[in-house]
Structure formats: C-alpha cells, structure tokens
C-alpha cells in the first residue's frame, strides 16, 4: 500500500508539471503557426540583422537566429539547416552561430517552463542572454586578435 501511495505522489507531481506546461504550450504553438503562415519570421529577421554585426555574426545569420531564438532549433531545424546549407558561411561564422544558438534558443518555450514554477521571466531571460553575449563577444575578440597577429 505504501508503494502505491509513493507512485501516486510521483504521478500527481508529474501531471501537475504537464498541466502547467500545457497552459503555455497552446498559446505558444498557435502563435508559431500564425508567425509562419503570415511571414512574421522574415519580418523579425529584418530587425535582427542590425544586431548581427556588433556580435560579429554575418547578416545571413539573422533568419536562423530569429527562428532558433523564438521557436528553438528542434522545431525550426528545417529553416536553420536550409539557410546554413544555402548560404556562404565561413567555419568561424558557423561556429559562432551554433555557440549562440546552443546556449540560447527556444526563448519562449524554455522560459515559460520555468516561469510556470513561479520564477521571474526577465531574470530567466537575462541569465541566458548575458552569458551568451559575453562569450560570443569574447570569442570574437580572440578571433580578430589572432587574425591580426598572423
């Protein structure tokens, strides 16, 4: 009987997590379909292009970045793979893009999971974006410095 109680505790705790995630998932995935249908992703990429240069990323990184940041690279792998294969990327640019996206992606979904636990949204975004931008800028300086010395 004790084991049944314990299993029930585990099941209920799991179910509670699933339900709090459901509250976020429905609006998110509906918004995503709308964004794809009405071309909002491309429009957002135009805005993103401005931030690429200061980060040492090529402007062709704008679309993969927007797709990865908003949707995550599991759902948007198609969009990202296409722009990586079609574009003319240097090895360094590709590495920087993937370090960025590896650390920070699926900002809406991933943040929402932990916001559902009552953690502050802005802080959750900051602890991801700040370390990511620091390491991207740091690596970029290192790369420029090494190229200058050659």
């Amino acid at each position: 009987m004790f084991a049944v109680e314990v299993l029930k505790t585990g099941f209920v705790a799991g179910l509670r997590s699933v339900l709090s995630i459901a509250l976020v998932l429905f609006p998110l995935l509906i918004a995503l379909e709308l964004a794809t249908e009405f071309g909002w992703l491309e429009k957002a990429a135009e805005q993103m292009a401005r931030f690429c240069q200061p980060l040492g990323l090529p402007s062709q990184a704008a679309l993969p970045l927007v797709a990865g940041l908003l949707i995550g690279f599991t759902y948007s792998a198609g969009v990202i793979l296409a722009s990586v294969k079609e574009g003319d990327w240097s090895e360094w640019e590709l590495t920087q893009l993937w370090i960025f996206l590896g650390l920070t992606h699926a900002l809406i979904e991933d943040t929402a999971i932990f916001a559902a636990m009552g953690l502050p949204v802005l802080a959750l975004l900051a602890v991801r974006l700040v370390p990511t931008i620091i390491i991207i800028l740091g690596l970029n300086h290192l790369f420029v410095w090494r190229k200058d010395r050659q």
Binding site: T9, A13, V18, V84, W98, F114, L124
Partner: protein, 142 residues
C-alpha cells in the same frame, strides 16, 4: 489577417500543441515516478551524498544532480519532471533552472548542430562550462 488562413493556422497550432503535450507527458510522468522510486529505495540518498560536495558549489542539495543529469542527457522536460519532487528554496530553483536552460538535451541538440555542419563537441563543452560558471556566479551573487 484573412480569416481563411487564420483558422487553419490556429488549428495546426492546437494540433501541434496536443502532439507535443502527449510527448511531454510520456517523458515527465515516467521521470517523476522513477525519481519517486529512487527516493523510496534510498538510491536518491546515495546519489545525493555522492554529489553533495559538487552541488554545494551551486548552493544545491546533492539530490539536484538527478534533474541536472536527466536534463542534460534526456531533455529539459525530464529535468523539470525530476525537479518537481525536490524541496528547493527559490534561490536554488532559480540556479538549477539557469543551469538547465544553458545546458540540456545535449545528445539530441548536438546531433542537430552536427547536421548543420556546426562543431557539436565545442558547442557541448561551452554549454556545460557556461552552465557551471553561471551557476557558480549566481550562488555568489544571490
């Protein structure tokens, strides 16, 4: 926004959400049950004891190694499932969330990186390192 495109798009969104939610249910509920069983058989205590010297760097109890390992190997949702049972203070929850956000689903996401000609090993090492450094710094700051 024409309605004839609005409704089908919204329907697809709902269908996707149902699909993803079912996938998550299949991950989260078994994970929480496994962790409950680990707790019942005292495995959690052993793991906790073993990991507590390392986890204390991040102000976390030894048991928190379970969601970290689950999250990194399996996925963010498995991490959340394992986290659901641990009695954590707000600061601890935040640090664990941060570390999981920066580094999770390493095999699956590494495979996608490699497929797109990225350096999966480099990306993985940087993710683990940044998760550890950020966790350590948050422990000192908060």
């Amino acid at each position: 926004m024409p309605t004839n495109r609005l409704l089908p798009a919204m329907t697809r969104g709902v269908q996707n959400a149902v699909k993803v939610l079912w996938m998550l249910t299949k991950i989260i509920i078994p994970t929480t049950i496994i962790v409950t069983l680990m707790d019942l058989f005292g495995i959690l205590d052993h793991l906790a004891l073993f990991f507590s010297p390392f986890m204390s760097w991040f102000a976390l109890p030894g048991e928190a190694a379970v969601p970290l390992v689950a999250g990194n190997i399996s996925g963010l949702y498995a991490g959340v499932g394992a986290m659901a049972l641990l009695p954590l203070a707000r600061k601890q929850k935040f640090i664990l969330a941060t570390m999981l956000l920066l580094s999770h689903s390493l095999p699956q996401e590494g495979a996608i990186v490699a497929q797109a000609e990225g350096k999966a090993v480099t990306v993985t090492i940087i993710r683990l390192a940044m998760a550890a450094i950020t966790g350590l710094l948050l422990n000192l700051i908060l």
